[in-house]
């Protein structure tokens, strides 16, 4: 436990441990601008970088971090048996938009034509989920397509050689593939059709209960970041560029591919919703869980209510009660 140390204000911990990932969304703006450090002067903020949502889940279970960033796929697993990680989703960092897409050879023009082709994607990622959703929409069985598991840099290499006919992958590899391929479908389009994928914040339930103030401050900084991205795109891009070692222009482009949601939108019925009416996002997670079950990756699909309870709507509502 990290509670009750001297310098910390009531409701805030002595230490706030955050697991972040290199994704061009508001989290990196908050980190870059040191807003949390300023807003919680009595609290030591520890930023730890993670490479995948799976690692974030692991760190959450071991209690090594308080707030983390993970994709909707790993969070679904975390909320399902056997993991049952005691964490909640207080915020959606971004809804994946044009930054993940299925790129194929130019001669392939529709999803049905994927039959018999070799398509690569990093397994267990949001892209993997989206790819299978595309296939399902097109009425193709998984066995109709040769799906290979490759990491993004390897996808680029395999594409270069012509070993694969397409890939569902994210930027910046996506941009490289787009140069001589054609985008068949993007995650933004899929989201519109209900197959939404997102990067989520997760907070340990215990932490949220113990330090509501700190969580509120954290949520407000995230909202501030989203607003900055909307009002002063150049400043946001510069901040993200610094964090990602990218030029502001490239960072701005990547930022633009994501769908960022401010506090009001987060509380809308399509997303997290309110304590009284949990948003549709819970259903989204539920259907993702069903998908995982069909893949034999979870033991059982939890009740919808599990995911509804997994949305930290109360905390979200409290943080922006005045607005």
């Amino acid at each position: 436990g990290s509670g009750g140390e001297e310098a910390a204000a009531p409701g805030t911990p002595a230490k706030l441990r955050i697991g972040y990932q290199l994704i061009p969304n508001g989290d990196l703006i908050v980190k870059d601008q040191r807003w949390l450090e300023q807003a919680l002067p009595g609290t030591e903020i520890v930023w730890s970088k993670f490479d995948s949502g799976g690692d974030v889940n692991t760190a959450m279970i071991s209690g090594a971090i308080d707030i983390g960033l993970a994709g909707s796929s790993p969070v679904t697993r975390g909320l399902s048996a056997p993991l049952n990680i005691p964490y909640q989703i207080p915020w959606i960092f971004d809804v994946i938009g044009d930054n993940e897409a299925l790129v194929v050879r130019k001669e392939i023009t529709e999803a049905k034509a994927l039959a018999g082709k070799t398509i690569a994607t990093p397994f267990s990622s949001t892209s993997h989920y989206s790819l299978l959703a595309v296939l399902a929409e097109a009425g193709l069985a998984e066995s109709d397509v040769k799906i290979v598991d490759l990491e993004p840099p390897d996808i680029q290499a395999a594409w270069q050689r012509g070993d694969i006919d397409g890939a569902y992958v994210w930027t910046p590899i996506l941009a490289e593939l787009e140069k001589d391929g054609a985008v068949l479908v993007t995650s933004r389009e899929l989201a519109g059709r209900g197959k939404l994928t997102a990067d989520l914040a997760v907070v340990r339930t215990e932490f949220a209960r113990q330090y509501p103030e700190a969580l509120k401050v954290w949520l407000r900084q995230q909202d501030r970041a989203v607003k900055l991205a909307r009002t002063d795109n150049a400043a946001a891009a510069a901040a993200i560029g610094r964090q990602l070692n990218l030029s502001p222009a490239e960072a701005g482009r990547q930022l633009g591919q994501l769908v960022l949601l401010d506090a009001a939108e987060q509380r809308g019925p399509d997303y997290l919703g309110t304590p009284e009416a949990p948003g549709k996002f819970a259903e989204n997670l539920h259907s993702a869980a069903e998908f995982l079950k069909s893949q034999q990756k979870v033991d059982a699909v939890p009740e919808l209510s599990v995911f509804q309870k997994g949305l930290a709507t109360r905390e979200l509502a409290d943080a922006f009660a005045g607005s």
Partner: protein, 267 residues
């Protein structure tokens, strides 16, 4: 406490060690069961032995990711054996050259050291662009993992060959070209075999990395897949299967060592 500095090479495993080992395995299993039962860590990290057993049955019959456990294992074993075969052959050849030819030592010695410090995760995509996504890049990676220990051990062993053996061989008419094969290699054999044992171990640890590239079927790919979905029982099953097969190979290598080098400690 009994000390023995040398086991009689002709004596196999007697009844007592076998019982000792069986006992140790039982103790380990019991400890595992206990830890799982008292839940020091949640079951996702330490699943019960029974759960792993269930996965063994399930993956052996229904399969995992579309292949049975045996299929995963055999594919990986083939990769490991091929990779080690090339790696060991190359390592011995390189080690001999480095140990024997000064110019090669000067040039290739540092290069080998340089290459053997490189993290596979960093250059894997280069292997993909050179060799594609089928078996080649995996076997190359395993080759690159198993070559260095053999090369280093061989090169060092060559330095350790007694100069009198070299002199004797040359005086007995062995040509410059024969000496490496008739003297250096047999004399360095014990250390080379040690190098091979280390190399096989390193190749094993690399198999998961190798199978990040289109690695299903493959026991490493299976473990990775299971890990990403936090299916710890499958991960542990995979780990145990990997470890046991490694144990078997190492046992064979040790037997070979005892057969081939009866003079160890008496030469």
């Amino acid at each position: 406490m009994r000390f023995a500095f040398r086991a009689d090479p002709r004596r196999g495993m007697t009844a007592k060690p076998a019982m000792l080992r069986a006992g140790a395995v039982l103790v380990l299993l019991a400890a595992w069961q206990l830890i799982a039962m008292v839940r020091i860590w949640p079951p996702v990290f330490v699943p019960e032995p029974a759960a792993v057993w269930r996965q063994l049955v399930r993956t052996s019959t229904e399969g995992y990711s579309g292949y049975t456990l045996a299929e995963h294992l055999l594919v990986s074993l083939r990769r490991i054996l091929l990779g080690c075969l090339y790696g060991v052959t190359g390592g011995i050849a390189l080690g001999l050259l480095i140990g024997i030819v000064p110019t090669v030592r000067t040039l290739l010695g540092p290069l080998v050291t340089f290459v053997r410090t490189l993290p596979p995760l960093a250059y894997l995509s280069l292997l993909v662009i050179w060799f594609g996504i089928e078996e080649e890049p995996k076997i190359w990676l395993l080759l690159l993992a198993s070559l260095p220990p053999v090369a280093v051990a061989t090169a060092e062993a060559v330095r350790g060959v007694h100069e009198d053996y070299l002199n004797a061989a040359r005086s007995l008419g062995a040509s410059r070209w024969e000496v490496p094969f008739r003297v250096v290699l047999p004399s360095a054999l014990p250390e080379i075999i040690t190098g091979i044992r280390v190399a096989v171990g390193v190749a094993y640890t690399t198999v998961v990395a190798a199978e990040t590239v289109n690695g299903v079927p493959g026991i490493g790919g299976m473990v990775r897949d299971a890990q990403r979905y936090n299916q710890t029982d499958v991960v542990i099953l995979g780990i145990v299967v990997i470890g046991l097969s490694g144990l078997l190979i190492d046992f064979l290598l040790q037997t070979l060592d005892r057969r081939l080098v009866p003079w160890r400690g008496r030469g």
